[in-house]
């Protein structure tokens, strides 16, 4: 019987498998399991994994920590708005906040050094998108995400926002400058 009519055998469960179906199910199942185990495998052997490290926070508390870092490590300012460029020491905790509509402050990191990058939002949801290296994460207000990151290219990276956050969303741009070590 066709697919729009009741099956010919009332107990359709007893109908035998076609060889073509059995073979394909076997192949597809092996592939599915391979893809599943690839993810834990990469956690052990791969280098690009998110840490799962996150904390509850408040915009006030996170702003205070970011401000403290800015006060201590600002090396210069940029643009007419005098945006601080912060050069924190290698291995330290680095704070970056997203708000309507900027990423603040600008950061300067050393190539090959590891930093603990803390990111949170002051208001709505934002999307941290680092280009052109292409690293993307979701940033939520009230949650502080920690990524332990090692920049391995020396260039200028731009942070754009790729979660819609209102009318100025497309102007929300920040920077991470990566310099050669010791300069």
């Amino acid at each position: 019987m066709s697919a729009i009519q009741p099956p010919a055998e009332t107990v359709w469960w007893r109908q035998p498998l076609d060889k073509v179906e059995g073979t394909w199910i076997g192949i597809a199942l092996v592939w599915s399991l391979f893809m599943f185990f690839m993810m834990p495998f990469w956690h052990v052997y791969g280098k690009q994994n998110l840490s799962n490290e996150a904390y509850r926070t408040t915009p006030q508390a996170f702003l205070a920590k970011t401000q403290a870092m800015v006060d201590q490590y600002t090396v210069r300012t940029e643009t007419a708005a005098k945006l601080p460029v912060v050069r924190p020491p290698p291995g330290s905790d680095v704070y970056l906040l997203g708000r309507l509509w900027q990423w603040w402050p600008l950061l300067e990191l050393e190539k090959g050094q590891t930093y603990r990058l803390h990111i949170s939002s002051m208001d709505w949801q934002h999307g941290f998108s680092l280009q052109p290296v292409n690293i993307n994460t979701q940033i939520l207000p009230g949650y502080e995400m920690v990524i332990t990151v090692t920049p391995d290219t020396s260039d200028q990276q731009t942070i754009i926002c790729n979660e819609y956050c209102g009318l100025g969303h497309h102007n929300m741009v920040g920077k991470i400058y990566v310099t050669e070590g010791g300069k």
Binding site: P16, E21, A28, Q138, L140, T150, H170
Partner: protein, 570 residues
């Protein structure tokens, strides 16, 4: 119930219950009207993201993008699905529809919901995208419209379930329900889960928007909202796979290779699709990798396995049916001699190919926990879901519509020559469109973004020229697909409201490939393996499936390689 009225379609042999027929027509017509509204928004949004045109101002762009998303992904598709549910229960089981008055109430609630939501968006203070992530506020009517719509859709689901009960009680069929109805039941069960999730998150959000609740946690919102947002796409998958099986049965008289396999695959959808929230939360703070891996893989990819099974069994059943008719030469005569001029078939087959090769593969790749880091919220994401929802679901529904115009509406298809080309224009246009979007996304271009040149920003950033080329291709191919959509609406509306009445099958508008009576084909002696090769009933389909797997494996590997090139993170 001796007063119930029925009509039997003389050509297809399908039996329509009058109240069910009216409801199917009403739901399908409203679906097409909403498709038009969403389509106009699509045109303007595409013309804005096409860098050389950049048509709309920013506020208008975000407003229309919101409108496009909600109308297409929720309103259009669910209206059509309600019509499909009534067809799969009342018509396929030759049974009266349960409680038609309640069904009309559901219809009215859905329609009111659509109007209330769209009014809020048009008002200009609800440009929050379909996802309406808190704490970004929208006009309360935005949420209210969605809630009313969901209540109406839930009533439609209950009508479907009630009709199944009536058919069983009144013994209008023997044994088990048909496979297509089984698939529709799958869609209905997922829909009930989806709508419940929607209620759990949208009702508090509505109360928050009018000031009765003071805080909604954004992480919780995303988790529960995506149980609505992603699961609703799984309703579409179950529904359009059912439509594939239905069209294979209608056009070829195909029977499932084995009922057991196809039904088990549908059951895997019910068991595992609901955990799909995780796909959207792979780079969110506060969730563990164990949680992400288990859920994003639908528990070891068992729902993906189900789709790969349907991807084999649908064309496989067509191959078997064609071979039984004598198209046995080589591996692919059955496919070459298929009715490519009949949009009921061509649309369905393009839907199957596009859904599998583009939507399916990209979905699994971007739903891999770590690979999501290089894809999340880039324009790759809409590239993926336009392949699943537009090529997969919408095109399958368009194909079914070409069948329903003569059978349900009893009208001839207007401009059949144009209708013959429509699935190709729409389907291939959409394929190029989605591939170009995915290409741009791989280069980091962001979704939901008005200006990829960052003209008004204090700090500048330039995408590579190749990203602009990709977005240009998105614009051009988007226009082709929108033209295809416009032709569909033109043909459908003119046929249904002004078309010539149908007298017999030869009036259907497709003389070369008439819609054949839905009777089963005769299985040759020795089972259907006899007509195949290597002991396989469908050797051609098997070869195509292996080709699919090769593409899948290759693309999966390429993305891991790309991921390995970005900054080390832990």
């Amino acid at each position: 119930m001796s007063t119930e009225l029925y009509r039997t379609c003389p050509e297809s042999g399908l039996q329509f219950h009058k109240p069910a027929e009216m409801l199917m027509k009403a739901n399908a017509v409203i679906a097409v009207v909403i498709l038009l509204v969403g389509g106009i928004a699509a045109l303007l949004v595409t013309l804005t993201r096409w860098p050389a045109v950049h048509l709309l101002p920013a506020d208008r762009f975000y407003q229309l993008l919101t409108m496009h998303g909600v109308n297409m992904l929720i309103f259009f598709i669910i209206f059509f699905e309600i019509a499909v549910l009534y067809f799969c229960s009342s018509t396929l089981l030759k049974c009266r529809l349960a409680m038609p008055r309640v069904a009309w109430l559901g219809f009215a609630l859905m329609l009111i919901g659509v109007v209330v939501n769209n009014m809020a968006v048009l008002n200009g203070d609800a440009s929050v995208m379909m996802t309406s992530y808190v704490p970004m506020p929208a006009n309360p009517n935005f949420y209210l419209g969605l809630i009313l719509f969901a209540v109406g859709a839930l009533l439609g689901c209950f009508i479907f379930l009630g009709t199944l009960v009536i058919a069983k009680e009144e013994k209008t069929y023997e044994g088990s329900i048909p496979l297509v109805t089984f698939g529709a039941l799958t869609a209905c069960i997922i829909a009930v889960f989806t709508i419940a999730s929607g209620a759990i998150i949208l009702i508090p959000t509505y109360l928050w928007s009018i000031g009765y609740i003071n805080h909604i946690d954004p992480a919780m919102y995303r988790l529960v909202w995506w149980a609505l947002g992603h699961s609703s796409q799984q309703i579409n998958v179950a529904a359009h796979v059912s439509v594939w099986y239905a069209i294979a049965a209608i056009v070829f008289g195909a029977r499932p290779l084995s009922e057991k396999v196809s039904r088990t695959a549908f059951f895997l959808y019910i068991a595992f699709l609901q955990i799909a929230s995780a796909h959207h939360l792979l780079v969110d703070p506060g969730l563990s990798s164990e949680w992400k891996i288990f859920n994003t893989s639908y528990a070891m990819y068992l729902a993906v396995l189900a789709s790969m099974v349907h991807g084999l069994t649908v064309p496989g059943s067509i191959e078997v049916a064609q071979r039984a008719k004598g198209y046995t030469k080589g591996l692919f005569e059955w496919l070459r001699k298929a009715p490519w001029g009949n949009p009921v078939f061509s649309g369905m087959f393009l839907s199957l190919v596009g859904f599998g090769f583009i939507g399916g593969i990209s979905g699994v790749v971007m739903g891999t926990e770590q690979i999501n880091i290089i894809i999340h919220n880039t324009i790759y994401v809409p590239g993926h879901f336009h392949a699943t929802v537009v090529i997969g679901t919408t095109l399958a529904f368009m194909s079914l519509t070409y069948f329903l115009i003569p059978v349900l509406f009893r009208r001839q298809v207007f401009l059949p020559g144009l209708a013959r080309w429509q699935p190709y224009l729409f389907g291939i246009g959409m394929m190029v469109f989605t591939l170009a979007m995915m290409g741009a996304g791989t280069l980091g271009v962001e979704r939901r973004h008005w200006d990829m040149a960052f003209t008004n920003s204090a700090l500048s950033f330039d995408y590579p020229a190749s990203a602009y080329t990709m977005m240009g291709i998105v614009g051009v191919s988007g226009m082709a697909a929108i033209l295809g959509g416009a032709i569909f609406i033109l043909v459908t509306v003119v046929s249904v409201f002004f078309g010539k009445r149908v007298g017999s099958a030869s009036d259907y508008g497709f003389t070369s490939a008439k819609v054949s009576r839905a009777s089963p084909i005769i299985v040759p002696q020795g089972g259907h393996e006899a007509a195949g090769k290597w002991g396989f009933a469908a050797p051609g389909t098997f070869l195509l499936a292996l080709f699919f797997l090769a593409v899948f494996v290759l693309y999966y590997a390429v993305n891991w390689k790309y991921l390995a090139s970005v900054w080390p993170m832990s």
